[in-house]
Symmetry: C2
Subunit: 128 residues, 2 copies
DNA sequence: AATCATTATATGCATTGACATTCAATGCGC
DNA sequence: GCGCATTGAATGTCAATGCATATAATGATT
């Protein structure tokens, strides 16, 4: 059932490619030039801030990985960059010392809040 | 008009990300393991084969670049890889000797035709 | 408690891609 | 014909990513 033609399928893929490349490219440029953040860095901040309902929720690398389209190694390095920039902290988990608890710093939260409208505006431009 | 909520816009972006990463990742894996082709390499072969209605149409790098989401430099290197693999040829254009005419070799056409069903199957799986 | 498999994360290495620069061919103005 | 801006493509350099592997903490088995 639903025998979509090769053309239909191909057109959907083309449209996905167009939307993805156009949007991610502009997100990358805007976030970098206005807020010194790469797209995946912004996305990490976003997940961390989302998990923090109120103040200081903690997130493990594993959880983060599950919510992002990044390999474990790429994610580890992305967090390292954010840590060096003072936007997140890695704290060893006390219950399981293999794991890290990640947290936004105050600076991280500020940076994310500053960048959010930029991100939002680009998405709106491409999808509204 | 059409005041789509932030949520709508965000959901569309999420869906685009999901579709893009899921599909391109599987395309990459399948094409590589079954046909020793990266996705962008396959795409170059596809464009070249498409331009060749009958036998031996020629395509310039510039034209190729316009049809792909790749930088000029990345494209140049991708074509270099294909050339080394014997799948395409670069021939200096006679009218404008700065330019190259790209052509599929017989091996290139074979490889593309062999890989096409794999590509098609992945797209169908994700979009049908 | 010693061994072994598993889990959470980090790191070495190779690939890929983008940006800036370079080089050669072209064509324009004079 | 001679400079000079432009254009098509290749290359140097660097950042980001993925895969494989290393490290280290846990948990299970004996």
């Amino acid at each position: 059932m639903d025998p979509e033609s090769d053309q239909d399928v191909c057109a959907k893929w083309s449209e996905t490619l167009r939307a993805y490349h156009g949007t991610s490219c502009e997100l990358e440029n805007e976030l970098q030039s206005r807020h010194q953040l790469g797209l995946s860095e912004f996305e990490v901040l976003q997940v961390l801030s989302g998990h923090c309902g109120g103040a200081d929720e903690k997130v493990m690398m594993k959880d983060l990985e599950a919510e992002m389209y990044l390999s474990q190694s790429a994610l580890s390095r992305t967090v390292t960059r954010l840590e060096k920039a003072g936007l997140v902290t890695r704290a060893a988990c006390e219950l399981d010392r293999r794991a890290n608890h990640l947290m936004l710093t105050a600076a991280g939260r500020e940076r994310w809040e500053a960048a959010r409208p930029t991100h939002e505006a680009v998405l709106r431009k491409h999808f509204a």
